[in-house]
Amino acid sequence: MKSCRTIYRSMRDALKSVVRNFSLSLASITCITITLVIIAAALLIADNVKNFTDEIEKDVTIVAFLDSDVDDQTKEDFETSIKKNTNIETFDYKSKEDVKEDMIKENETFSKVISGWDKDSNPLMDTYTIKVHDVSKIKSTAKEIESTKGVNSVQYGEGLVEKLVGVFNAIEKITFIAAGALIIVTIFLIINTIKLTIFSRKREIGIMRLVGASNLRIKLPFVIEGIILGIIGSIIPILVVVFGYSTMYDYFNGVLFSPVIKLVKPMPFVMNTSIIVLIIGMIVGMIGSARAVRRYVKV
């Protein structure tokens, strides 16, 4: 009952103080808004880069060519050994006849030559197209497959894939580190702004202490005020995320520069990002106020 009253009174005081100190509140809100817009942009970019690299990695496959005289038993053994391998996601079998059909469709000039091949004269091999979970381990997985009985050779774009994966991982890490650094800088910026606004109320805090307000009773309204400022400050960034990103997505038709680079679909992506932005705003506002008041509640 007593603590309910304290919380109720703290919320009432917080609202009062946001309104009665409106110019100071506006300073904090503006600061939060600007930095959150930047953070939101960083988050959108980072997630898109991650999505893009993931997409590319998904397309990376290992193709295993089987010996031309392989029998069904060996094929079955091969399939069970693939199923045991933890890094292999899916595999897809194509007999040399299927490969032939594919090639006929692909190339008109050769189609006549190729269609002349019958079952015995077909120089192609049975193949398995294999997708892996972790592209960075593709080299060892490919080696394992190659050493399996009945496998003639494997292909996975050696060298190129590894380089590509390395570059993507680096880009992904850099964007996330940049976003993280931005968040930290923002926190300090906002904390300082709130500190300045609270400094002007140092006397008020002193009087509250004097009449016997506990530290919690002094802090709570300020902390709630910080959360309110954070929420108000994240309104514009959230609008920017929701409408800005959707508009941009439509404008570019969901791809950037070339169809290879696909953008993340706006729904539910913008909602998730908005929630993250809101939470960052609230937490930063809260921490900012809590830290700022802490200095003044000490004797």
């Binding site: 603590s3 506990s214 000490k298 004797v299």
Partner: protein, 227 residues
């Protein structure tokens, strides 16, 4: 108060070997010139400063041992009135007085009753909805007194409450303090250098000089003291 010493971090000693005891319900004046240590003494009582040595016990609380986070408990046992009133400018008279009760978690009905009661006692019931800066100095000081006594403290500490007021208004304030002392049985410690008031009130008087007690007059004994 036993063997209390206070030395500030910059090495200046303010209070030396102070021994004092004040009974419940007393009304005591503390007088002294600038630098006599009276401000330091008062600050130690409401735990704005900690004594460097010795012990201060106020209404059963060992003030020197009190942790920062528990200071508010002491402040609920005492009321403090200052020369510059220290009212919250953005709250009305009523809200200012009510704030002292709100922070203790009393329910709103009781707050209303007590605040109106105490405002009536200091004669400001009709100004409850005004903001402090609309009031005269004497009225503001009465609001401050109302706030200090609204939670019925055992001890009321007054730091030159009449310092900014003319003699006539000062006497009005003193009458209110006397009334509180009698009706609520509140112990009052009042720091002042207004010797006219001290002479008129005929109470116990403690004179400080350079951080030491130089004289302790019983009620009515005080005639004059060179500060």
């Amino acid at each position: 108060m036993k063997n209390v010493y206070k030395t500030y971090p910059n090495g200046v000693g303010a209070v030396f070997n102070l021994n004092l005891s004040v009974e419940k319900g007393d009304f005591v004046f503390i007088i002294g010139g600038s630098g006599s240590g009276k401000s330091t003494l008062i600050k130690m009582l409401y735990r704005e400063e900690k004594p460097s040595r010795g012990e201060i016990i106020l209404g059963g609380v060992n003030v020197g041992r009190l942790r920062n986070s528990k200071v508010y408990k002491l402040r609920r046992l005492i009321g403090v009135v200052f020369q510059d009133y220290k009212l919250l400018p953005k709250l009305t008279v009523y809200e200012n007085v009510a704030f002292a009760l709100e922070v203790t978690g009393v329910d709103s009905k009781q707050i209303r009753k007590r605040v109106i009661d105490v405002l009536d006692k200091v004669g400001l019931k009709h100004k409850a909805k005004e903001y402090p800066d609309k009031l005269s100095g004497g009225e503001q000081q009465r609001v401050a007194i109302a706030r200090a006594v609204v939670n019925l403290p055992k001890i009321l500490i007054c730091d030159e409450p009449t310092g900014n007021l003319d003699p006539k208004i000062s006497m009005e304030i003193m009458e209110i303090l006397e009334k509180i002392n009698k009706e609520y049985d509140t112990t009052i410690l009042m720091v002042t250098h207004d010797l006219d008031i001290v002479k008129r009130m005929k109470k116990r008087v403690i004179a400080l000089k350079e951080g030491r007690v130089v004289k302790d007059y019983k009620a009515g004994e005080f005639v004059s003291e060179k500060l």
